[in-house]
């Protein structure tokens, strides 16, 4: 009888706390958005499912000894998973459009203002006592504006592990929402004439340039910002493997089974941070609001910088490609292309927008290095 009682006490009905129930519903919502609405499904399916698993009452999957906690410690606390993903992303990245037009790097730089403005916003909210974010928290929230999942997770794991769940969810959700968030801002900041600007066809980029470029980045990182070395180093390594053409075996595995495997476990491990205590509080609300702000400011900064560049340089630059500087590869570039086609149905901007798009990845990794150096120091 005791044992029957024990069994009853072990059920979810008996143990479930309201917070856990809500978090399970939130996990289900993420699964719905991922599967039905195609919100970054590759990450949000594992994150959502992990979130549900983490909140099963009494199962303790996200606590010490639980399998999700194990994945978290092994893969995220150590930094390994985001870095391996970044290596895979590097192996999938083509720097060709960037090399054809290196000025687009400035667009990738400008868009990072979203990160720092949001950091300042979080600091202000804390100063006015509305939230209680530390400088490290503020930096981790700001990085959502980098529009780059693995970078967000890496920075959050270093600076604010407690906020990691909310930051990752915000990061991927807003990336999925890029086609909704960006167009109004882009339209507000450009006029019809701006949007019709046609850009020159890109020059051919030789394979040798593509091989040397990741090494150039690596050297500059070594000289200027060692704190960005883990992220940019792994990124450049992946890219070099792809471009050098002598290790195609390794590059193919990196782009396929390796990144897929790590994505599954990264997602589940992030899900382990969606516990009721750390997610169901005012801070998450702040993170969601500030994250949206970060995306919007980044988009605006990119467009404004493109307009400035267009004034300065001889070669015409369509301001619509500025928004692609936030990264969110390749969706932001597609948004640029779509708005370009709306203004002039022969104005294909996709390849031109890929330049600032990958520049945005470099830019936010640089920003991540600075934040880690400054806020953790």
């Amino acid at each position: 009888m005791d044992k029957l009682l024990h069994l009853w006490e072990a059920t979810g009905f008996y143990q479930m706390q309201p917070g856990q129930g809500i978090m399970i519903l939130i996990g289900m919502l993420l699964l719905y958005l991922a599967i039905k609405k195609n919100f970054e499904p590759l990450l949000l399916v594992p994150i959502g499912f992990g979130g549900v698993l983490a909140n099963i009452p009494g199962a303790g999957l996200a606590e010490a000894g639980g399998i999700l906690h194990l994945f978290y410690v092994v893969g995220i606390e150590s930094g390994a998973f985001p870095l391996i993903i970044f290596m895979g992303v590097g192996a999938m990245t083509d720097f060709g459009p960037l090399l054809a037009n290196p000025k687009t790097l400035f667009l990738g730089a400008a868009a990072q203002f979203g990160i720092f403005a949001t950091l300042m916003g979080a600091v202000l909210l804390s100063t006015f006592g509305i939230f209680d974010f530390s400088l490290a928290d503020a930096a981790a929230i700001g990085i959502i504006g980098g529009a780059d999942g693995p970078t967000s997770i890496y920075v959050a794991s270093k600076l604010a592990p407690d906020l990691l769940g909310a930051i990752a969810v915000a990061s991927y959700s807003y990336m999925a929402l890029v086609p909704l968030i960006q167009p109004p801002i882009m339209r507000a900041l450009t006029n019809e004439k701006d949007r019709k600007i046609r850009m020159h066809q890109q020059r051919h980029v030789s394979q040798r340039e593509k091989i040397v470029f990741p090494l150039v980045i690596l050297i500059l990182v070594a000289l200027f910002l060692p704190d960005a070395a883990p992220l940019l180093g792994m990124f450049c390594f992946g890219n070099l493997m792809k471009e050098c053409a002598v290790v195609d075996r390794l590059s193919n595995t990196t782009q396929n089974s390796l990144i897929n495997t790590v994505t599954i476990f990264l997602g589940l491990a992030v899900g382990s941070k969606l516990s009721a205590e750390s997610f169901l509080n005012q801070m998450t609300l702040g993170i969601l609001l500030l994250g949206m702000l970060a995306f919007s400011i980044g988009t605006a900064s990119g467009v404004i910088m493109a307009k400035i560049l267009n004034k300065i340089t001889k070669e015409p630059i369509n301001p619509l490609i500025g928004s692609a500087g936030v990264s969110a590869v390749p969706m932001a570039a597609r948004v640029s292309n779509k708005l370009g086609l709306e203004a002039d149905k022969h104005n294909f901007l996709l390849m031109h927008a890929m330049g600032p798009n990958v520049a945005g990845v470099i830019g936010s990794a640089v920003a991540a290095g600075i934040l880690i150096n400054y806020a953790a120091g």
Binding site: L42, N256, M354
Partner: protein, 96 residues
């Protein structure tokens, strides 16, 4: 543990365990039947799962489908093949 305790523990575990398995799977039968009934009704009005279930390119992993990447490479061919195949599967199921 004494022998008699072991015996009674084993008996309890057998009875409660087997009981629990049946309770759980009975509930699962009921809920599954309910689920199928709801979905079948729902699909009568909206139709079966539309093609939008097909994976679209995403911000983290889908890059090889974009831009000037090696369209000739195995990996992007695979991924195209996968998309085509899963699209075919979906259409096949829809038409059935």
């Amino acid at each position: 543990m004494e022998k008699s305790t072991l015996m009674s523990e084993g008996l309890t575990l057998m009875v409660t365990g087997m009981g629990f398995v049946f309770v759980f799977l009975t509930v699962l039968v009921l809920v599954t039947t309910l689920m199928s009934w709801i979905i079948t009704r729902y699909e009568k009005s909206v139709g079966a799962l539309p093609a939008e279930g097909i994976p679209a390119p995403t911000a983290v992993l889908g890059r090889n489908q974009s831009g000037q990447s090696k369209q000739q490479s195995q990996s992007s061919q695979d991924s195209t093949l996968l998309t085509v195949l899963s699209s075919a599967v979906h259409k096949y199921r829809k038409n059935k």
